[in-house]
Amino acid sequence: MTLPLRGWSVAAESEADLVGRVRSGDARAFEALYLRYHHSLWRVAYRYVRSTAVAEELVHDVFLAVWRGREVWAIREGVEPYLTSAVKHAALRSLRREAAWVHARDAAGNAGESLAVSGAAPDVTERMAGEEVDRVLAQAVATMPPMRQRVATLRWGRGLTYEEIAIALGISVSAAMQHVSRARAELRVVYDRLTGG
């Protein structure tokens, strides 16, 4: 099994072979898969959640699910597309869970309480420091209705597609598109004014 010839071609070890070994309970094959895809999957997760700890959790969760269900693990395309898609879905589920908390914060925030807990838009409020234009744009987002704020954060803070925003917030795709286009219209006015348009 471990012929020297295969030593140099570890990366090329057939994926179907690895999957088959994982399915039969080979922990070493499982770990080889983990080491091979950890970095790229972590980056995928990070883009959605923007938290190193949460990204790591999500990658772990996906691999734990694979290991627990290994006997019936079936994949159609390659391993990487499968795992990438699993991580994406896990990330969207995670965002969706968070949305409930954020709504709650917004409800309280609208009630005029003094809040220092960062919630919906840490990306927006933190990353924009420095440039005046960016600061004013962030302020504009902060005064939007809660759902529009949330959508703006996911669209321009994390680069999600309409479909992903819809899943993350539990709304329809067309609602997501509407929120984005309203937010964009508002931000365009601000942007044009600031840039002398």
Binding site: W42, R43, E56, V59, A104, S114, V117, W156, R184
Partner: protein, 343 residues
């Protein structure tokens, strides 16, 4: 094209600018080391993998002598005040954990989550624990090292707040008599909601309630008062965990709060005869030091002295002229006890 709203910049260019401004184009940091990460995954596999563990019942227990509250799977922590826990023989389905005043207790829950209960703390575990989620109710202080399980989120409920972990180490202080709750994160991340109305079944805050929420990460210290006002600041949090090892830390703390903490930690009834002392401030750290030594230091630094009879302690203002020559001017504040060799 609407003439009244001139479009100086096309959608895609505006989007590009917004993505730059709001972070979507911010660089992704380096992922953690894959091998270290694999080690963490292995430990999770060990904990979660063999399902037998989560179903196994602890077949022995302990009874708290002081409170008479039955405990399951408790290991008494040797430390301040010594252990007040003795074993009892019959196993029973107990869902209440308690530590007496003056003692701490370490607990390992059946999901592998480790807790240390501070003095005078009650932890209630509802019957639903482990089904949809892992919710516990806390009155007092506890540090949590949570074994994360995405499908069964671990959550702590206090009279003022709901705290959910994202794989982490944190402490919650929520004594009923205190003016505010405090959550401190040492590792990882937690989600915090300052719920003021809490239906028993609410595992997550109801969007319709006034419930500020958000995430806290490593180094964050949050306080939540009775009006659900939540304040967060970031600091070196090590001193907030020192009690777990039997230590005490005060950072510019009101003497009033110091007295309350000493009462809990040592199981003493401390009264302060001179109310002017209560508003003084104290800074200092103690490792696992006997009560009398701590009392001596702390009272001395605020210009007081104490008399102890058994568990009763009375603190009075020091009247000796050498120590306090001018009765109208208070003694020096902010004295660092730990660095004072003249104890």
């Amino acid at each position: 094209m609407d003439r009244d709203t001139p479009r100086n910049i096309p959608d895609d260019e505006l989007d590009e600018h917004l993505e730059q401004a709001f972070g979507a184009r911010a660089p992704v940091p380096q992922p953690p080391d894959a091998r270290a990460s694999l080690a963490v995954l292995r430990s999770r596999l060990e904990v979660v993998g063999p399902r037998v563990r989560s179903g196994a019942r602890v077949s022995w227990g302990w009874r708290s002598v002081a409170g008479g509250v039955a405990l399951v799977g408790v290991v008494a922590v040797a430390g301040i005040g010594g252990s007040r826990l003795v074993p009892f023989t019959r196993a029973q389905p107990v869902r209440e954990f308690a530590s007496a005043l003056g003692s701490r207790a370490a607990i390992t829950l059946r999901d592998g989550t480790r807790l240390v209960l501070g003095p005078g703390t009650h932890l209630h575990i509802p019957a639903s624990f482990g089904q949809a989620d892992r919710m516990v109710e806390l009155d007092g202080e506890a540090s949590f090292t949570v074994v994360h399980d995405e499908r069964h989120p671990f959550a702590v409920r206090t009279p003022r707040a709901l705290i959910r972990d994202v794989g982490t180490v944190f402490t919650v202080r929520a004594y009923r008599g205190d003016p505010s709750d405090r959550v401190v994160v040492q590792e990882g991340q937690v989600l915090l909601a300052a719920c003021t109305d809490r239906p028993v079944a609410a595992h997550r805050p109801d969007p319709s309630t006034r419930c500020p929420s958000g995430s806290l990460s490593r180094g964050d210290i949050a306080t939540i008062d009775d009006t659900a006002t939540t304040k967060v600041h970031r600091s070196d949090v090590a001193s907030y965990f020192i009690w777990v090892q039997g230590g005490l830390a005060f950072n510019d703390a009101l003497f009033e709060d110091v007295v309350r903490e000493l009462s809990r930690t040592f199981g003493l009834e401390i009264s302060v005869a001179d109310s002017a002392l209560l508003s003084q401030r104290v800074t200092g750290e103690f490792a696992d030091v006997p009560p009398d030594e701590v009392l001596n230091e702390v009272t001395r630094v605020v210009g007081g002295r104490y008399d102890r009879t058994g568990r009763r302690v009375v603190i009075r203002r020091q009247t000796t002229k050498a120590v306090h020559p001018d009765r109208d001017s208070p003694p020096p504040l902010h004295t660092a006890l730990a660095h004072d060799p003249t104890a």
